[in-house]
């Protein structure tokens, strides 16, 4: 379901992008990076893919240390 939502949204935005031609030159790089990340997450779900999420990674790495410091 999630993969479908992600792919649907990306296809729609790709369609809008090609019809409006809003992006120029290297502007496409972040666009495709977002697409790749979103599809990777949708397919990978709760596997190692979630570790690349900034918030999840930070939570796993820093929370135990900060918890000890604060308590």
């Amino acid at each position: 379901m999630m993969t479908l939502i992600v792919l649907g949204t990306l296809l729609y935005s790709q369609y809008r992008k090609t019809t409006s031609d809003k992006l120029k030159g290297s502007g496409n790089v972040p666009y495709y990076l977002i697409a790749l990340l979103a599809i990777g997450m949708a397919v990978g779900d709760d596997s190692g893919m979630t570790m690349i999420l900034p918030s999840r990674g930070l939570l796993i790495w820093f929370d135990p240390i900060l918890e000890k410091l604060i308590e």
Partner: protein
């Protein structure tokens, strides 16, 4: 191309809304847990921190108004250095956005839509956010202006509405838990105050007045936001007490549920929460807008931010869905990790920018002397 402009009052109100709506949901719980009845004093040091980064930004922007922080990064650090810094800011702003989005979705699930899955609520909020963001910064500012009045009115009227439940004994003795508890409590709120960087990123580009007289509107907003949070915190501690406030997931929701004026006004909490939720959505919209501005500034040539509005939806949705397994994780992230990340990132960011600005000024001075 149409020029977007927002007034000083709107900037002040958006900043106030950004702070008070953002912290209304859950931060107070951890603050009360750490500092007990002194938690209401814990907003002072974060306010000083928020004001400090605004003052530094005013100095950085002097003579360079009319551009966003991301463009300023490129001007001061050059194309590659600026793009790298913008990339770091992109991850920071993205984390901020997904935390807020998930927090609001969890709050709505607890208060209003008990049987709806969090991911569905989150997706709906995201769609609303995209709709508002596509309207531009002026639309966000106008809607924020409108809802901030309602938010401020509900918070200021809480002590009067709860006068029959309020006990001064709950707030006393003042400053009995020592400075260490106060420092820990203040640390919890620093992350949320540091988020004003999102406001700083775009507000200098869209402000009517290049050099507003008196106190800068963003500083006014920080002070007013702190005032509202302090009023809310005193009312919470005085009414609900420290032990329940520290254990409840949403203590401020318990606070509004304690309003018992008459029998027919028993569910006033629904009305108050329906003012709080749109104010929070305004904060999310502003975050989303800043995120599109940021990503459009990463490539060598500045792109149209609107081109990224829809494409960011799947990324934000997936990250919001997968980042936190429960509300407890979310609260821990917001109060422990986020404050640390915010302070670390902003100290590095502003140090780099200050050094770059000083070097540019010196270089310019030398050029003037030579000519």
């Amino acid at each position: 191309m149409q020029t977007l402009r927002i007034s000083s009052n709107q900037i002040a109100m958006l900043t106030g809304c950004f702070l008070s709506a953002g912290m209304i949901v859950s931060t107070s719980k951890e603050m009360v847990y750490q500092a007990g009845q002194d938690a209401w004093t814990g907003y002072f040091f974060p306010m000083v921190y928020g004001a400090l980064i605004i003052v530094i930004s005013i100095w950085l922007y002097k003579g360079r108004e009319g551009i966003t922080l991301f463009e300023l990064n490129k001007k001061l650090l050059g194309g590659i250095g600026g793009s790298l810094l913008n990339l770091v800011l992109f991850w920071y702003l993205l984390s901020m956005l997904i935390t807020d989005l998930r927090k609001l979705a969890e709050f709505v699930k607890t208060t209003l839509l008990l049987n709806t899955p969090v991911s569905v609520t989150m997706f709906m909020i995201l769609l609303l956010t995209v709709y508002l963001t596509r309207g531009g910064i002026e639309v966000i500012a106008r809607v924020g202006h409108l809802y901030f009045f309602l938010l401020a009115a509900t918070i200021v009227s809480l002590p009067i509405l709860l006068i029959n439940e309020f006990s001064l004994a709950n707030v006393r003795p003042v400053m009995a838990n020592g400075l260490e508890a106060l420092a820990k409590s203040s640390f919890m709120a620093v992350g949320s105050y540091g988020e004003v960087i999102a406001m700083i990123s775009v507000m200098f580009a869209f402000s009517y007045q290049k050099n507003p007289k008196g106190l800068h509107p963003m500083l006014r907003g920080v002070v007013f936001g702190t005032f509202l949070l302090t009023v809310l915190s005193v009312t919470l501690i005085g009414t609900v007490g420290t032990s329940i406030s520290a254990r409840a997931m949403y203590p401020n929701l318990m606070l509004v549920q304690s309003i018992h004026i008459t029998d027919f006004l028993d569910r006033l909490d629904i009305i108050l929460v329906s003012f709080w939720v749109p104010s929070y959505i305004i904060k999310i919209c502003l975050n989303y807008y800043v995120l599109t501005e940021c990503i459009s500034s990463i490539p060598s040539e500045k792109q149209n931010p609107k081109a990224y509005t829809i494409v960011l939806v799947p990324l934000v949705f997936m990250m919001g869905h997968l980042s936190f397994e429960s509300v407890v994780e979310l609260v821990h992230f917001e109060t422990h990790v986020w404050s640390f990340v915010t302070v670390f990132l902003q100290v590095v960011l502003f140090s780099v920018l200050i050094v770059a600005r000083l070097m540019r000024d010196r270089q310019r001075k030398k050029e003037v002397e030579l000519t």
